[in-house]
């Protein structure tokens, strides 16, 4: 067992520490204590726009406490006169409750949408070019033509935005017109939500949605408790308790005019915090987050509740939180930008060459310009001699430069950004639609929340995974109980009879628990056989403790059979739920819980216990206790907690044998990965109870330091316990987790598990998920101070180096992790991480961790999770992915390059913060290995192709300029040159970017190693860029010079040769793509051949317009054999080098992908008994 943590843990990190016994409850607990230590703890990371995330903080006391110490100054306060909306809104008009998530109205759409669109650099580039072209001196293209591309993208984006906004408006309208009960002149009337104002009193009935943020005044429960479900807000389906102040609980606003003033903070987005105070009858009381119910929550299990609206409409916390995830930029795009800069240099170079040549030409023909027929500087039309369109040598050069920028503008492939967005949308469509990533259990599809990092999924090197709820199901299952030193494990005993359905009949209705639990028959018999003897009494107490010592709320639901009622246990901790269900299965069914008493059905007999006191869980004590008053006035204390904290409190003089036996059971349980809890009890005599009661009352009414006082009271009473036993709960692994981890590891991805669990549990889960294997060398770093931590790290580093160098022939340390002989597993605990993350040890830790194939971090706080991710992210260029399901994973999800949320049992916060969300951990395999791989390959190819596509066009234009006295005439019709990137060549690249796949799903899953292509940047790199550019140069030369020489000294006119060039470029560019397409389905065929046909049609249409100088050119020139021979010759000659290089490369230096493609098509030649049997089939040899 672990060394016990001292109670006086003052370190901030310690208060974040999770407890193994009950993770869910610790989340809430740390915040409670954090309120004492440090009233607000906001976690925010460097990137701008990130919303401050505050973890937990649901506790009433701490908030109230910090509130009472801090007065809200009047300027920062919002004053709400209850039931007096006129007065409330008198001074400052607070926002009404109508919400408007739509960005635009009909009138503001055009200006606002344009304004927002022009925030993008690409559009500004378009705009500047278009404006330049409007200057008469620079008018290269006609007015209409030059606006066309810009207008096109603006239109497409505008239509998309308008559609989205229309949908938002529609949902706003539905939301605003919902009805709520509002108090008007002493009567509750139905009113539309949008008319609710701050200060109005609202009545909410059971199962209704709260229309705005309200402070509770009174509820149907006499103690003022209301249960709410925050599913819509943070997705947590369990019930949370909210309280109305006792002082307002008794008031009836229908009868009497209230004179209540609420003073609270200005609207903010912190959904877990609220500060304010309320003045009732001259008394001032503080309000905390337990008094406020937020918009979007639902009232459950409470007949009605009254509340006063304090924040409405856009001021509500739900609305303030509805901003999207921070935008990330993909690695590929970042890499691409450096090549874009390269292309800008090319562009500038081309422009400089053009203008310098033009300058030389002008200088040489200086004297001839006046009368030269094709220049004619002299203008005599006005009767006097003047220069026509000549602004002097220097200006002419400047103009030439600017004009060449306009002509060569497509060198910067702005359309690529738009195509990429479209392609990503298409890819997202297919990812969402993939039936492999649909989770039947939760009925959740895959979600793409970020649309700009699809391709990063193909380059992930590090996966950081949460454990609970991610690797495991977070569905706790009661497995073993150790009572009085006897081990009853349900797993072994109930092989034949699976799950016993336990039902209780009362007043003709049958109650049955919603979840079934495996039971141990022996124990079931024992628990049934009455509790006459001493042993029986102990068992009775044990199950009573399980049923009572918790904060579970039973919910009774109807079933199809009116006689049968289903009992569901709702609570914040899944462990407690599991224990309560287990107790129910053994005949101790919790039926009802109010703040004062509980009703438990014990083997058909209903018993009522008074709950005299409840000490909630906190991370310092790591236990909770309940004081039950029996009907015979005896009083008993039940305590349940983590073994570390409980074993110290057990009275060692009693039952030493039992204690020993229990200890050894605990050890066995936790070593097989079970979560353990110890249960103890003590009878309280009257004096003891009275003493406790008085101090409890003092503490709970204290204004200052209430939480600390309460804890002290708890500590005083929780001692000298008699041990009842221990429980073990299994946190089940999710389906397919071991296989997934195996796949990821073969793929060369390093999986790091960051968990809040203790070391033993983490290691056992590590084994069961095949993260750890027996042939791994484990390096465990588990230290208490910096120096020993450093020493450990250095020793481990030396050792790992030695192991690395001895087999040492591995070329690449990156790939070395695949080798079987020595792989290391690094196991670090949270305390050591505190020292590592705070200091220069980071570097050493990273060195060590990068040599290990597995890293397990235990007892990690949320912030540390993010810290570890940041550590890796800042030290390598490798991509990181974080996957988690709970609020504690949010920081890590936001920190990593890609955040994946599991939309499972815990809240939706992880999903809200994530870029991708899915139902199960195992979906990570298809996501990365299939979709990530495809997306990366597709986009990588698409980028180089787009560079090529635009560059070849610009080069053809450029070559022609060299033969026009450097005056930027374009032989290609201006309409064609604008349509080039919109119609002629746009669709095929988008279709290929969405649909092409290099390998089938099966192959990719069979050989996870193929993922390495993304890790090695094979689809897009500098070498590929330069090769493509060289190819582009050759192709442009072929396209341009074949017609040039063939038509030199003939009667060919500008328009005809321009049409030839247009068609040649378009056909070539499309065939180039066709040559690289891997899978031809009908859509690809349609897109590529369709584009070529569309180009012919467009060229014909343009040439059929008589006002263009090139009228009828295509009909004339296409009637000659020379035209067609040129076209054929160009295409073959241009593609020849590419084909040769591609063939040689694929055949003699095949990449893994290439070989797998061949295997896919022709089968594996080795399978047909073709020699070399000693070679193992690849798939069966995991490292």
């Amino acid at each position: 067992m672990e060394p016990s943590t001292p109670l006086d843990s003052s370190s901030n990190m310690d208060s974040f520490m999770f407890d193994s016994s009950s993770r869910r409850s610790t989340v809430s607990i740390h915040s409670r204590s954090s309120g004492v230590i440090n009233s607000t703890r906001e976690v925010s990371f460097g990137h701008s726009g990130s919303k401050p995330v505050r973890y937990g903080s649901k506790g009433a006391e701490s908030e109230a406490l910090s509130m009472s110490q801090k007065e809200i100054s009047d300027e920062d306060a919002r004053l709400v006169y209850v039931d007096d909306p006129d007065k409330t809104n008198d001074m400052l008009e607070f926002a009404g409750n109508s919400i408007l998530t739509g960005k635009y109205s009909i009138f503001t759409f055009l200006p606002r949408n344009l304004f927002e669109q022009f925030h993008r650099v690409a559009y500004i580039y378009f705009l500047v070019i278009a404006i330049l072209n409007q200057l008469p001196q620079l008018a290269v293209f006609g007015r209409g033509v030059s606006i066309l591309p810009l207008a096109f993208v603006l239109l497409v984006t505008g239509v998309k935005d308008a559609f989205e906004d229309w949908r938002r408006h529609r949902s706003d309208k539905i939301e605003n017109n919902r009805l709520g009960l509002i108090l008007v002149n002493g009567q509750f009337l139905e009113k539309k939500w949008k008319h609710i104002r701050v200060g109005e009193v609202i009545k909410i009935r059971a199962n209704e949605t709260i229309p705005c943020d309200i402070v509770l005044l009174s509820t149907s429960d006499p103690t003022g408790v209301a249960y709410v479900q925050t599913l819509n807000l943070d997705g947590e389906s369990n019930l949370k308790t909210r309280y109305a102040k006792q002082e307002t609980q008794s008031k009836l606003p229908e009868k009497e005019k209230l004179d209540v003033l609420i003073k609270c903070e200005k609207p903010n987005r912190n959904i877990y915090g609220f500060q304010g105070n309320i003045e009732v009858d001259g008394k001032r009381l503080s309000l905390g987050s337990s008094n406020i119910v937020l918009r979007g929550c639902e009232l459950k299990n409470t007949n009605w509740a009254l509340g006063v609206a304090v924040y409405c409409g856009r001021d509500t916390k739900a609305m303030l939180n509805s901003s999207g995830a921070p935008s990330k930029r993909s690695l590929l795009e970042t890499r691409m930008n450096s090549e874009i800069i390269m292309l800008s240099f090319f562009l500038v170079a081309l422009c400089i060459v053009t203008s310098v040549c033009a300058a030389v030409w002008l200088k040489r023909h200086k004297d001839e310009l006046n009368l030269m027929p094709y220049y004619r500087k002299l203008d005599v039309s006005e009767g006097k001699e003047e220069s026509y369109k000549y602004y002097g040598w220097v200006l002419e050069i400047v103009f030439t430069f600017l004009m060449s920028v306009i002509v060569y503008q497509v060198m910067i492939p702005i359309s690529l950004y738009i195509s990429m967005e479209l392609v990503r949308v298409g890819q997202a469509y297919f990812m969402i639609g993939d039936s492999r990533m649909y989770d039947k259990a939760t009925e959740s599809k895959f979600q793409c929340r970020a649309l700009n990092i699809n391709e990063d999924l193909g380059q992930i090197k590090y996966v950081f995974s949460d454990k609970t709820g991610t690797l495991t199901e977070n569905k706790m299952e009661f497995q073993c109980a150790s009572i009085l030193g006897f081990d009853y494990s349900s797993a072994t005993a109930s092989l034949e009879n699976e799950q016993v359905e336990y039902t209780v009949q009362a007043d003709g209705t049958i109650f049955k628990p919603k979840m079934m639990v495996k039971v141990n028959q022996e124990l079931l018999q024992l628990s049934k056989s009455g509790f006459t003897n001493d042993e029986g009494k102990q068992i009775y107490d044990f199950f009573l403790a399980l049923a009572a010592c918790n904060t579970i709320v039973p919910l009774v639901a109807d079933t199809s059979d009116p006689m049968v009622k289903l009992i569901d246990y709702q609570g914040e901790s899944p462990d407690e739920q599991a224990l309560t269900f287990a107790a129910a299965a053994y005949g101790f069914m919790l039926i009802e819980r109010t703040s004062g008493h509980i009703v438990i059905d014990i083997h058909g007999e209903r018993q009522r216990f008074n709950v005299l006191g409840l000490h909630e869980f906190d991370s310092d004590r790591k236990r909770m206790s309940v004081i039950l008053g029996y009907s015979d006035n005896s009083v008993k204390l039940f305590v349940k907690g983590a073994d570390t904290s409980m074993l110290r409190l057990i009275d060692k003089s009693l039952n030493t044998d039992i204690l020993h036996a229990t200890k050894s059971h605990l050890h066995t349980y936790s070593s097989v990965g079970l979560r353990t809890l110890v249960i103890g009890t003590r009878d309280l005599d009257a004096s003891e109870f009275e003493q406790w009661q008085s101090s409890f009352e003092v503490a709970s009414t204290a204004l200052m330091g209430r939480a600390a006082l309460l804890r002290k009271v708890a500590i005083n009473i929780e001692n000298k316990l008699c041990i009842l036993g221990a429980t073990a709960i299994e946190d089940k692994l999710q389906q397919g987790v071991p296989e997934s981890i195996e796949s990821l590891r073969i793929a060369g991805i390093k999986v790091w598990v960051l968990t809040g669990d203790k070391q033993e549990t983490a290691i056992s889960i590590g084994y069961s998920s095949r993260l750890l294997t027996s042939n791994m060398i484990q390096i465990i770093i588990n230290t208490n101070n910096r120096e020993s931590c450093r020493r450990h790290l250095q020793d481990a580093l030396v050792m790992s180096r030695q192991h690395m160098t001895t087999p040492g022939v591995t070329h690449n340390s990156e790939e070395g992790s695949d080798s079987v002989s020595t792989s290391f597993a690094l196991i670090v605990d949270g305390t050591s991480l505190v020292y590592i993350l705070d200091s220069e040890l980071e570097e050493e830790f990273f060195q060590l961790a990068s040599r290990c194939s597995v890293v397990l971090c235990c007892r990690v706080a949320p912030l540390q999770k993010a810290g570890i991710v940041a550590l890796v992210k800042h030290r390598t260029d490798d991509m990181t992915l974080a996957i988690g399901d709970g609020a504690n994973d949010v920081s890590m999800i936001q920190m990593a390059d890609i955040g994946v949320g599991i939309s499972g049992q815990e809240g939706r916060q992880a999903v809200m913060a994530s870029d991708f969300a899915m139902g199960q951990f195992r979906f990570l395999v298809p996501l990365l290995l299939i979709h990530g791989h495809w997306n990366y390959q597709r986009l990588g190819y698409m980028i180089t192709y787009n560079f090529y596509r635009n560059a070849i066009f610009v080069l053809v234009l450029f070559w022609y300029v060299l033969f026009t006295a450097f005056t930027l005439t374009t032989a290609i019709n201006e309409w064609s040159s604008m349509l080039y990137s919109i119609i002629y060549t746009a669709l095929p690249t988008i279709v290929v970017g969405i649909l092409d796949k290099d390998l089938s799903k099966r192959t990719l899953l069979k050989h996870p190693q193929l993922y390495g292509a993304g890790l090695r940047n094979e689809a897009y790199n500098k070498k590929l860029f330069w090769l493509t550019m060289a190819d582009t140069l050759w192709q442009s030369i072929a396209v341009f010079f074949v017609p040039l020489i063939a038509y030199w000294g003939t009667t060919i006119d500008v328009a005809s040769i321009g049409d030839l060039w247009t068609l040649a470029v378009v056909i070539l560019v499309n065939l180039h793509l066709a040559m690289d397409v891997i899978r031809w389905n009908w859509i690809t065929h349609a897109a590529i051949w369709g584009s070529i046909i569309a180009t012919f049609i467009c060229v014909i249409v343009i040439d059929a317009i008589p006002v263009f100088p090139g009228y009828w050119a295509i009909f004339d020139v296409a009637g000659t054999a020379l035209f067609w021979l040129c076209l054929l010759g160009i295409v073959i000659a241009a593609l020849l080098p590419r084909l040769v290089v591609k063939y040689l490369y694929q055949y003699y230096f095949p990449s893994d992908i290439q070989i797998s493609r061949e295997t896919e098509k022709f089968g594996n030649p080795r399978d047909n008994g073709g020699g070399e049997i000693e070679m193992l089939p690849v798939s069966d040899a995991p490292p």
């Binding site: 001839e368 009368l371 027929p373 005599v380 039309s381 397919g736 298809p926 070989i1155």
Partner: protein, 344 residues
């Protein structure tokens, strides 16, 4: 196996798909499993492709070369020979009103079958200069009512305050050398009809648009036009206004519809009016027959032969290399993780 379990879980049960509305609809499209063919560059395919290219290209190349060789062409460069020897300032001479008639004799070395195309060829004349190509008004040429739309025609838009028809630099610089041919004192008729595109005559140049105010400005650029003939009949203008793509170009002058025999001497009376001297432009008179491929140009034939030959050579060398060093397609032992020494 990792793959099989993950794959198995995802396999769809169509009945379940119908029950669950949220479940993604299964179709070959959404699962990206549309039937597709996946071509691979196998040695056989590549070698046959190269052979095919060479089989197609070599005959085309040979045919082109033959066609080009069959074309008989007489080129006579005259811009310097037609200047009297005593003239030093060529520009001043050409601008003067002196008689610039020039007699030259062409020798036919090979039988020329009619029709024989008569071209004039200009070198170093940038008809594709930006200022030049833009200086025209297509509306004005087509439509009588658009007579005044001359804004694009500067600096030849108006003269004496009135619009010029046809306006612009292109029309203004209309070529005005003339040729008349005779063989043994018997004149050869040059047919100047149908030298322009039919589409231009019918749709681009108006039948009711007549030249007006043309060449009346201070500087005369070239030929004048008969103001009684509509633009659609002014074929020299129509030909000239199809601006050439390249700085060296020919324009059709007319056709001689008689055969010229080997050994014939043809006298040409040439009026050397056009000023190319100011920018060192060359002028050539060309008589040429045509083939199915156009004029005399060996380039295409040579290019086709080269590409065809290269493809044949590549096909041959790929075959040799294939036999010397074959690789079995889809052989997993070439996979990088199988070649990794650590993996064994």
């Amino acid at each position: 196996m990792a793959s099989s379990s993950a794959a198995g879980a995802g396999s769809t049960d169509p009945a379940a798909a119908r029950r669950n509305t949220k479940r993604p609809k299964y179709s070959k499209f959404t699962q990206q499993e549309l039937p597709a063919c996946k071509p691979i560059l196998t040695p056989r395919a590549v070698i046959s492709a190269f052979l095919l290219v060479s089989i197609v290209f070599v005959p085309i190349g040979v045919a082109s070369l033959i066609a080009s060789r069959k074309v008989v062409e007489i080129v006579f460069r005259y811009e310097s020979t037609c200047i009297p020897n005593n003239v030093t300032d060529k520009v001043a001479y050409i601008q003067s009103s002196a008689d610039k008639t020039c007699n030259i004799t062409l020798h036919v070395n090979k039988h020329m079958k009619s029709p024989i195309h008569v071209y004039y060829q200009l070198d170093n004349f940038y008809q594709n200069h930006r200022r030049y190509v833009k200086s025209r008004s297509d509306e004005q040429l087509r439509d009588r009512s658009e007579e005044n739309s001359t804004s694009t025609c500067k600096p030849e838009d108006t003269a004496n305050g009135k619009a010029i028809v046809p306006c612009g630099l292109i029309a203004w610089s209309l070529f005005n050398d003339t040729y008349s041919f005779s063989r043994v004192n018997q004149s050869l008729k040059v047919n100047k009809e149908g030298i322009s595109w039919k589409s231009d005559r019918e749709h681009k140049f108006g039948k009711d648009v007549f030249p007006r105010n043309f060449q009346s400005s201070a500087i005369k650029g070239g030929a004048s036009l008969n103001e009684s003939i509509p633009l659609s009949k002014q074929e020299d203008l129509i030909v000239w206004m199809r601006t050439a793509a390249l700085p060296t170009f020919r324009k059709l002058y007319g056709r001689i519809e008689e055969d010229l025999n080997e050994g014939d001497s043809i006298n040409v009376i040439l009026k050397n009016n056009y000023n190319t001297y100011s920018f060192n432009g060359k002028k050539k008179l060309v008589l040429s027959t045509t083939s199915w491929l156009g004029g005399k140009n060996d380039f295409l034939g040579i290019a086709y032969l080269t590409v065809g030959g290269l493809c044949f050579f590549l096909a041959l060398s790929f075959t040799i290399v294939y036999f010397v060093k074959p690789r079995q397609l889809g052989d997993p032992s070439y996979l990088s993780w199988n070649m990794n020494p650590g993996g064994h």
